[in-house]
Symmetry: C2
Subunit: 379 residues, 2 copies
Amino acid sequence: MNAPIYLDYNATTPVDPQVADAIEPYLRQHFGNPSSSHVYGRNAHQAVDRAREQVARLIGAQADEIIFTGCATEANNLAIRGTARALRDKGRHLITSAVEHPAVEQPFQRLSEDGWEVTIIPVDSYGRVDPAKLSTALRDDTVLVSIMHANNEVGTIQPVEEISAMTRARGIALHTDAAQSMAKIPVSVDDLGVDLLTLAGHKFYATKGVGALYVRRDTPLLPVLVGASHEAGLRPGTENVPAIVGLGEAARIAYEREPEKIQELRLLRDQLHNRLAEAIPGMQLNGHPEQRLPNTLNFSFPGVNGRDLLAHAANEVAASVGSACHEDDDTVSGVLGAMGIEVDRARGAVRLTLGMASTELEIERASEALISAWQTITS
Amino acid sequence: MNAPIYLDYNATTPVDPQVADAIEPYLRQHFGNPSSSHVYGRNAHQAVDRAREQVARLIGAQADEIIFTGCATEANNLAIRGTARALRDKGRHLITSAVEHPAVEQPFQRLSEDGWEVTIIPVDSYGRVDPAKLSTALRDDTVLVSIMHANNEVGTIQPVEEISAMTRARGIALHTDAAQSMAKIPVSVDDLGVDLLTLAGHKFYATKGVGALYVRRDTPLLPVLVGASHEAGLRPGTENVPAIVGLGEAARIAYEREPEKIQELRLLRDQLHNRLAEAIPGMQLNGHPEQRLPNTLNFSFPGVNGRDLLAHAANEVAASVGSACHEDDDTVSGVLGAMGIEVDRARGAVRLTLGMASTELEIERASEALISAWQTITS
C-alpha cells in the first residue's frame, strides 16, 4: 500500500534533503559544545553563528537579534512572558487575539492568573482582527500586543502592518507568531513593524526541536527559562547545534526560493479548491478568500463530520480537522468558533495544507478520494 | 594537523554512531507530527513512545513518568519551578546546595526573587553536602529539596540516598540533576529515592537539544512553559522526534553496556592521574578521591593558570577549566570556591574528562602534552 498523500504541511513539514545533508556532519563529526573555548567548541560556535545570520537574513534582521529556542512554543513563552516581566513596573495590560495558537493563548492565560489584565480582540467571519477594534483596546498601561501573522487552521493573514503603526506610535511592544507564515509569504520584521517574531523550524522544512525568536534591539526582555548565559542571557541550555544548523539551511533555501514556486503552490491549492467545490455542492471555505496563506485550504464539507470524512479517506489522504495540537480533542475548533461559524459547519471542516513537495497528481488523487469519501458517507 | 585529544566529555559527548543511525530515518523519512492522528503522526508517536520506554528502563522508571524537554536546563526549570508553583499554597521554603549547575541555581534564584525562601547547603572540601546539615535545614514549610547527583566540575557524587531517606520521611519532594551521572554510574530513581530527576542527551552520547525529566507518579507539578497539551500537559511544543529517538537509543546502549566498560574508563582516568602526579610535584586533586564520577579528573596544576596551561597544550588536548557554561568568564569556579579551595589553587585547576571513546594512547599523549606545557610555563 502506498503511503497516503500528505496534505498536512501546516502540522509539520518533511525535512528538506538539503537540510538533512547540512545537519548530518553535526550529527556524526562535529559535536563540540559551542560554549567550549577549544577547537571543538569553536567549530560548533561558528556553525551556530552562521545559522543565526541565515535566519536573520530571511526576515531582514541582524544576527544578534535572533535567539534560538527548543521550539516555537518556547519562543512564544519567551516573547510574551519575558516582555511582560521586563515591563511589569511599566504596566500590566496586554492584548492578543481570539484565534491565537495555544502556544500564545496559554502564556497570556498564565499571565492573567499572575495578575496581568489581558484583552482578547475578536475576529470577523474570515478570522481577521479589525485594527479599529484593537485601537480602541489600547490603554496607557498596555505594554504588549501579540497578534499572529497567519492562522494555522484557516490561513487568514492578519493586518500586522496596520497594527504595528498603532503600537509603534504609542511605544507598545508588538509580537507576532509567524510559525505558519514563514517561507509561505514574505516575512520582514521591518515591513511588519514588529519587535518580536516567532518562527518554528518544523513548519518550513527544518527539523522539529528548534525555533527562534527575533528580538528587535533594545526591546526589554527577560528570560523565562533561567540557567547559564547562553543566547545573550535570554535562553539557557546548550545550543542544539545540529537542529540550529538545519534551521539556518532551511532559512537559506527559503531566502533563495523563487517567488514563482509559491505561486505554483497557490495554483495547486486553488485546483484542489475548485475540484472539491465543483463535485460537492455546498462546500464552504473557512478563512479569508484572499488574505490567506497560499498553501492552506480549510473547507467545510456539508452534512458530514470532518473526522469521519478523513477516516474514510485515510488510506489515500493524510490531513487534519484543525491544529495538530488538539487532534485528540473531539470538540470543534476554537478558531472556527471565534469566527462565528455555526457548529454544524465547523464539524464538517477539514484542513488541507500543501507544501513544496505537493504535485498536481497528488491533488487529483486526493480530491478524488475526498469526494468519494463524502459521497459514501452522505449517500 | 590532527585534531586535539578530546578530554571534555563532561562538556558534551560525541553522538554514538548507533544513535546517529537511529536518528537518520527520522530526519530523512519519518517526519510526522506525533499529535497528528493519521499514519504519519502515528509512526512518529510510536517512535516517541518507544524512546520513552527506553529512557524509563535505564533509570528504573515507568514510561509515563518520563517528560521529554528541549534540554536539561529546561528539565531543571520544570522540576524546580514547576514543583514550587504546584505547592505554593503548602509552603515556600526550598533547599539546594552550593555546588549546583547554573541550570539549578538560577531557577532557585528566580523563585527567591518571586518570594520563596531558599536555603543553600554548603559543601565540604571534597564538594560533598553533609546530610546532617541538610537535616537541620528542613522545616515544616519546606516543599522541595534539589541536590545534584554528581558534580559537573569535580565529579563528586552526592549522598542522595541519605538525603532521600530524610525527605521521604517528611513528605518533601526531592529532585536531583543527574545530567552528569547518567550512564557513568548507576542511576536508579528508586535506589536514589528521588521524585524528580533530570537527564541530558548530549552528556551520554545522544544529541544536544533533548533532555528529560523523570516525574514520580503523583508528584505535584505544574508546567513552566505553557501551550498545547503535549507531554502529559507538562511540556508544550511539538516533540523533537529525531532527538527523542536518539535519546532512547542512547539509553538502550547505556542500559546494555557492560559494567566492565566503566571500570576500564576509571582505570584510564587513574592512569592519567598517576602520570600527571608523578611528573608534576604538588598536583592537587579537586573533588572526592572515591565518591567521584569514574571519568572525571579535576586537577590543580601548581604555579600556573589552568587557562594558560590549556592554551599552551591546545594543539594536543581539548579540555576545560570547569563548566563549559562559563568558559568565557575569567573568574575562578564557584564550585571550587564553595569547596573552600584557595584562589591560587583554583586558578590552576583543569578539568579532564574521559569518555567511551578514550584510549590508552590518547591518555599517554595527553599527559605528555600537559606535562610539557606545564614545564614550559614554569621553567
